[in-house]
Symmetry: C2
Subunit: 504 residues, 2 copies
């Protein structure tokens, strides 16, 4: 924006929203603000203690007409925003799955923002498309995926990877590819006959994606699992369910198998499930959002055995590969099925490279049109740390979880509910008295509430097989052994107080 | 991550991916790198001049095992990445719609990244949810939207706004809400009878969203427009198409009206279209991705007349309100219809505030589960600049487009193809000779190719009503009058050379 020689608006000639020197000044101030925040992050309660509606009363009803100073805004962030933050980066955050971060990803994200390139097609920013292709092949290499999932193994119509925002979108786009491929054969009016499969442990986003895609809610199978099988999906039960559907005149479409479920990190056995699914022409997607990252270590790679038989795989580096939100990597063997279902060809985006079929246009691999240059983050992570350090990082988290698991085993008032496989420990207090299961559940609810109300650590719960349990998820980037030790002491203190009270 | 007292892996004890002092150092370096890039951005060719596959040959096939230095990576960004960038922030970028940026949004984005809060529900980061509610109400105020689109006008089941990634998602989620509301009444097996409506100028993402939602491709109406009506959708033709569908036993579902189409910024008349749609119980969405932002100025607000009669409205501040990608604001009157269609209730996300119904859980307003703290960007923009400067910004762009329009009018070899309404000028070279339309199209194609091959500016084209035209989109944040003047001189030079050649 500049001065307006022919303007009837004489005001506003001096508004420069991106003056490089003002940019430099404010961005440096923000770097220090953030570094200071990271330094003192342990001083804040992990779980925000504000009440619903706290912010509305603190802020004006309308935006200001005139500018306010950056210094005033920074003060308001301290005063009004930070109290309402649940500090996901705190080393005392053990809830959900932590969202992991790193300096490399932060500066990579700054660079992505800086260029603000809208890489819907190759020409709109060739580097954005090509770096994503390179980085997705690099990650595929680290995971020892078959060549069929890599660009270097085929061509633009073959295998390759793409960065989605979330697992939800990875599931949605592959489901649409599978759906349209099948409806092309059996006719669009058969959409109500399509059946999709997951277990009762599959992430809720699977059901949501299926509904978005127009799958009849009655045809979304949530196959029961049991504690005895570690909450993993049984191939023989899966086969029976599919057979019953086929016998009923329905058409099996899509299986979402999970490597590392959200509740307990259960692993569905990819190899035997894929064999069943392939017998029926079912598209197999593997959701390895959390645990897939562990498979860059040889000792965990076996959880992906059978991956050569599936159609698509997704994992989210924001969960365990230090990338910040949001970054979900999706690989497919047959990208042409995605492109057939998702491509658009408006005139205003037509260009010679796209028409040459020599390039990838990522808009045809995703829901939206516009897309950011996210591969910069992954590129900076992989180069700044190297594969060796990323493996160390995974192993360190797993070892801290093992340590916590050891604490649980040594205290007779506690028990592990399912075996630990990665960096999540599922446990509960169970004083092995004559109390019934409702009472035990209630004790655990009270323990969790007490722990979180202290603001010193944050844990979450789940219910599996009817059992209410607490989840101790190691993985916050700043977490060290001392935090795990202190967390365990706090949990024990809570148990002491609770059991003492319940005995009184 | 820390040292591992009980570890069987003794290596890797010193890998700290988020050491605050290392963070401070690298982030400061990156700020200077970016400020320098912004300072010298005019020295790069706007449109990248690399060939397909350029990057693959420059980078290794696999990631490094060991860390590489930040200095080396920065050098490689200069050497390998920047040549492949199409510089969307260049003041000489006049293609598509420019993606606008600002210092305030950049530092806001840094802060969003910093917290990395995954605000799927209120408790997961109360500030993230509540600031988004406040900011969406602020913007609604600036646009003079009716109270029914604001949180302050209703409650959690009523009106309000949410930040989506892209227009595609805004259309998809509202379409799903409309679809499921209707299928609840007429039965899920009627999905193949649902009909959706747009014009032949509606963004391609509308068709894509409809296909994602399982709408039969045969039932997606792309109603023709004409140059005489400025490519806007005619309410009377719309009514006839709907009547024919009803007569054929089909069920009208959803209308996407556009305020500011991508090709030519045509405006569909919201008020009379809404009257027709409401007669048939059709959900009306207004896609104002680009031009909606202009409506913060009183002189443009009339383009939203009738907005009180529609169900939902989206606009993308990354297009004209300086926000960087990706940021699409969606307002709905009846958020409960979104929530009914999109909510998930997995046990591991259950919590007291959500169950109290006193809070908004934004995961139920969008496709994915996880979500970033994007409202920080908008909050910083609105406070740092104030409404007055944002209005100045819009007017300044419009005035620069008017100036360019004036240049076209004064040169008899050129013509405006449609009247300019905002900051886009649609023009073509037309030497008014006896040459046919194919020849004129060819001249314009050649002119565009020549202009873009210089690397000095970047323009794109479209075809409307059978006419091939060039789009001059003013709006890059750094653009000043001198850039528009220089661009016009370059275009004239191209025309001189081209017409001279064609006469020889």
């Amino acid at each position: 924006m500049g001065s307006l020689i022919n303007s009837d608006v004489t005001e506003g000639c001096d508004f420069k929203p991106l003056d490089p020197e003002e940019f430099r000044k404010q961005a440096h101030q923000m770097v220090d603000f953030i570094a200071d925040y990271y330094q003192k992050i342990e001083s804040y309660p992990v779980l925000s203690q504000v009440q619903p509606g706290y912010l509305h009363s603190r802020l004006p009803e309308t935006p200001p007409d005139e500018p306010e100073s950056f210094e005033k805004i920074l003060k308001d962030i301290e005063k009004d925003i930070i109290p309402g933050i649940t500090h996901w980066l705190s080393p005392n955050f053990f809830a959900f799955f932590p969202a992991t971060v790193s300096t490399a990803a932060f500066v990579g994200e700054m660079l992505c923002t800086c260029f603000n390139s809208v890489g819907f097609n190759w020409l709109a920013s060739p580097a954005a498309t090509e770096l994503e292709m390179v980085v997705m092949d690099w990650l595929a290499n680290m995971l020892k995926l078959p060549q069929t999932f890599m660009f270097s193994g085929g061509g633009t119509a073959g295998g390759g990877g793409v960065i989605q925002n979330t697992t939800s979108e990875a599931v949605l786009v592959t489901l649409i590819a599978a759906r349209d491929q099948l409806l092309d054969v059996i006719g669009v009016e058969s959409i109500c006959k399509l059946v999709v499969y997951g277990s009762d442990q599959t992430h809720s986003t699977f059901t949501k994606a299926c509904k978005l895609a127009g799958i009849d809610a009655c045809n979304i199978r949530s196959i029961p699992t049991t504690i005895e099988s570690g909450f993993s999906l049984s191939p023989s039960i899966f086969r029976k369910v599919v057979e019953a559907d086929v016998a009923a005149g329905l058409v099996p479409l899509y299986l979402c198998a999970t490597v590392g479920t959200t509740s307990t990190t259960a692993v569905d056995p990819v190899d035997p499930l894929a064999k069943v699914a392939n017998d029926y022409g079912i598209w197999i997607h593997v959701d390895a959002a959390y645990a897939g990252s562990a498979c860059i270590c040889p000792e965990f790679r076996h959880y992906l055995n059978g991956i050569d038989q599936v159609h698509s795989l997704s994992l989210s580096p924001h969960k365990w590969l230090l990338s910040y939100l949001d970054c979900c990597c999706l690989w497919v063997k047959d990208s042409s099925s995605l492109v057939r279902a998702l491509n658009t060809q408006p005139e205003y985006l037509r260009n010679k490279p796209s028409e040459s079929n020599e390039v990838v246009d990522y808009k045809d691999w995703q829901v939206g049109t516009g897309r950011r240059f996210k591969s910069l983050r992954l590129w900076l992570i992989l180069r700044s740390y190297g594969v060796v350090n990323l493996q160390r990082h995974i192993r360190s988290d797993v070892n801290m979880a093992k340590m916590f698991e050891g604490f649980i085993r040594l205290d007779p008032r506690f028990e592990l509910v399912v075996p630990r496989q990665f960096s999540l420990v599922c446990f509960r207090i169970n004083p092995k008295s004559h109390y019934g299961s409702n009472y035990i559940d209630m004790l655990n609810r009270k323990l969790l509430e007490w722990i979180n109300s202290t603001g010193r650590i944050y844990l979450t719960h789940t219910i599996v097989g009817g059992v209410y349990l607490l989840r101790f998820a190691v993985g916050a980037t700043l977490c060290e052994e001392r935090h795990v030790v202190a967390a365990w002491k706090l949990i024990k203190d809570g148990a002491d107080a609770l059991l003492k009270r319940s005995e009184e």
